[in-house]
Symmetry: C2
Subunit: 403 residues, 2 copies
């Protein structure tokens, strides 16, 4: 693959947050009707003003700054003192112990963790199973490192017991040379949580076929009422090469600190640290200090945050379903992935119009895989009433531009 092909494969023009760099073209020429007034809502990412960073996170940064040199220049895998505490807390959450010295690396966001994990496992020709739809960067990373994407379909619009990835396709892929499987649960963009049965099966298949698993559990703490979550690393039968990824950017709103964590097989953590050394040395030293607030938030803080998101989720589902927009119920996390009907304009134009005419920013489904071109992704970690009004504007816009 030439450099130009490589960079075509990682185009970021439609990535969340990059909308401001797009050429808007002559939207006024194709716009129908007038402006839909309302508070602008940017669903491309969560609103940390509506759901502010964990209490004490800024004080922790200032403490780190005061601590000086030892916090500015940590090991590339992160400050030992912070890793020690964090390893215990994450182990408790995920149901299996973590050796802080060898099995944990602090990274610049979960994006940083994904980059390092795939960089440590994917080279030219490596076959990597990728769920469709799933987080867009997974696919781009595989292409950047020269790997081959093996698509695994996810059913997510049926009943919870029917929704699942295609395990037969996965097994076939594992049997025919797939070396790495990377996936997110809860799934980004649908909010589907892999069932305990599915997780156990994936772990067993990977163990049998010696496949490296990279499990992105970014949003696993925000689990809605009645749902259960099984951590793959807690399975008795699991592969030798297993990396789990989490981070405090979403539920905890610490995205501005750029922090993530990857934990698992020491040999992979070692490689990830070597790569980190040439990528950006380490997660910002003073930011790392904020990890001391993670998994030890004030009592009741997490429950309240989940409850508030669940209320927004339910309000949005009601609006979209009343308008016959097929939408899966997110079991965890704050992503919603409604499917749009046939429109009189192409989906990218519709999304530009949404922003221009209705002050609503969403991410196109095409970013998440070729099978979800007619969907849009919303991160509904936003002000409740502004979000409800914005969802109603989306429905109106669909009516205006319906084919």
């Amino acid at each position: 693959m030439t450099l130009d092909e490589k960079f075509d494969a990682i185009a970021a023009d439609n990535a969340p947050g990059q909308e401001g760099r797009q050429d808007q073209g002559d939207l006024n020429d194709i716009m129908r009707g007038g402006q839909l007034e309302g508070v602008p809502v940017d669903f491309s990412h969560g609103d940390v003003d509506a759901f502010p960073p964990t209490p004490g996170s800024n004080a922790a940064w200032n403490d780190g700054f005061k601590q000086g040199g030892s916090q500015a220049y940590t090991e590339y895998r992160g400050a030992a003192k912070i890793r020690n505490g964090l390893a215990d807390r994450i182990a408790k959450f995920t149901g299996r112990s973590i050796v802080a010295d060898s099995e944990l690396i602090i990274t610049p966001g979960t994006q940083g963790a994904l980059f390092l994990a795939l960089g440590a496992t994917v080279a030219t020709g490596t076959k990597v199973a990728i769920v469709e739809p799933d987080y867009f960067a997974n696919r781009k990373l595989v292409k950047f490192f020269g790997g081959e994407v093996i698509p695994i379909p996810l059913t997510y619009l049926k009943s919870p017991s029917e929704n699942s990835i295609d395990l037969e396709r996965l097994e076939t892929a594992f049997k025919s040379g797939t070396a790495v499987f990377v996936f997110s649960t809860p799934n980004n963009p649908t909010g589907h949580v892999y069932s305990g049965n599915t997780i156990t099966k994936i772990a067993a298949l990977a163990a049998i076929h010696n496949v490296t698993l990279i499990v992105d559990q970014l949003y696993s703490r925000m689990l809605y009422s009645g749902e259960t979550y099984v951590h793959l690393r807690s399975c008795a039968l699991r592969p030798k090469n297993l990396i789990t990824i989490m981070g405090p950017s979403k539920t905890e709103s610490l995205s501005g600190f750029r922090l993530g964590a990857a934990f698992g097989t020491p040999e992979l953590i070692d490689k990830m640290e070597r790569l980190q050394a040439i990528v950006s040395l380490r997660a910002a030293g003073y930011s790392q200090a904020a990890l001391d607030t993670w998994f030890q938030e004030p009592s009741g803080w997490l429950a309240k945050r989940i409850q508030e998101h669940e209320a927004i989720r339910d309000a949005l589902l009601k609006i979209f379903r009343a308008a016959n927009l097929k939408t899966a119920t997110p079991q965890a996390g704050s992503y919603l992935f409604p499917q749009l009907p046939s429109l009189s304009v192409d989906i990218h134009t519709f999304i530009k119009l949404l922003r221009h005419q209705a002050s609503v920013t969403v991410t196109p489904g095409s970013e998440f895989g070729p099978t979800s071109k007619n969907s849009i992704r919303l991160n509904f970690s936003q002000d409740h009433s502004a979000t409800v009004a914005a969802a109603e504007r989306i429905v109106k816009m669909v009516e205006i531009y319906r084919a």
Copy 2:
């Protein structure tokens, strides 16, 4: 290249700051004489407790945090508002205008900028000219991306007018398919500043042979008395593809914020942003706010900082030269690269002994290229008196272990 070969090429065990992870072996068995007492000095990086971060940098972070969402989620290339101001100030420093929207990207440290610049220009088989000695990550990055290293020797132990890279070797390399030339000036580890003539020649040769230039000017602000600095980007004749890299981690002691900047050819900045999107999204949002202090420090602040470093430089040069350790005079920056005589133990063992017996941490010259195995690198941005005492312990250790 297999993944294992790739990761062997980027081994980080001897990298600055990673000394704590090394197996120390049985140093007591080979140690001669007793401990050399003194305040421990870690020359592997600057001491931000001795030379604290720019005044106001922590207040800027707190302002960024208070600003909330807009500062947490910037464009991948960094917040537009911050880029606008910074582009003007860097343009003034480097002698040529910078279009903030298209010609500048904010990165996670200068390491991040180097990674993105080489990732955007080096693929399998790309020939990249690398100076020996030069910053160790350059070589590692080229190998990681599958490129081929074309070595260019640097003479640095002669008189200032004789010191230079071998321009004939460079021209030959450019004529025979070298596509990229990456180098640091002031040179890391020697402190050599490329002369105006050399810079003009490099720019012209790259223009003629269509070579991409990546110029790492990280330490260019800390220019000692009597020295002059010519910015390559200010040359009238220069190549189409030119990226200059700087950052506030060294002179300004902001390493704990993880900030850097790359500026130059828009097409390369675009590619670097695409890569940043899959590497770590952006430099930590709240950290970016500290860039507002950069190139507008309080009056007299920079002059004082340079003066204090020059005093340490001169004290160390006196000590090492009195002991007949060949050492180039750094013209800028805070690196010193003394050459050691033949020792009775290998250099890596000597460096471990230095740490164990004399509480002095240094970086082995082998990290900077195969031609400087007998040297050690010191970052002398440290407390003045502790540094002088540590340099005297280095000299004593050389006497103890002299072959």
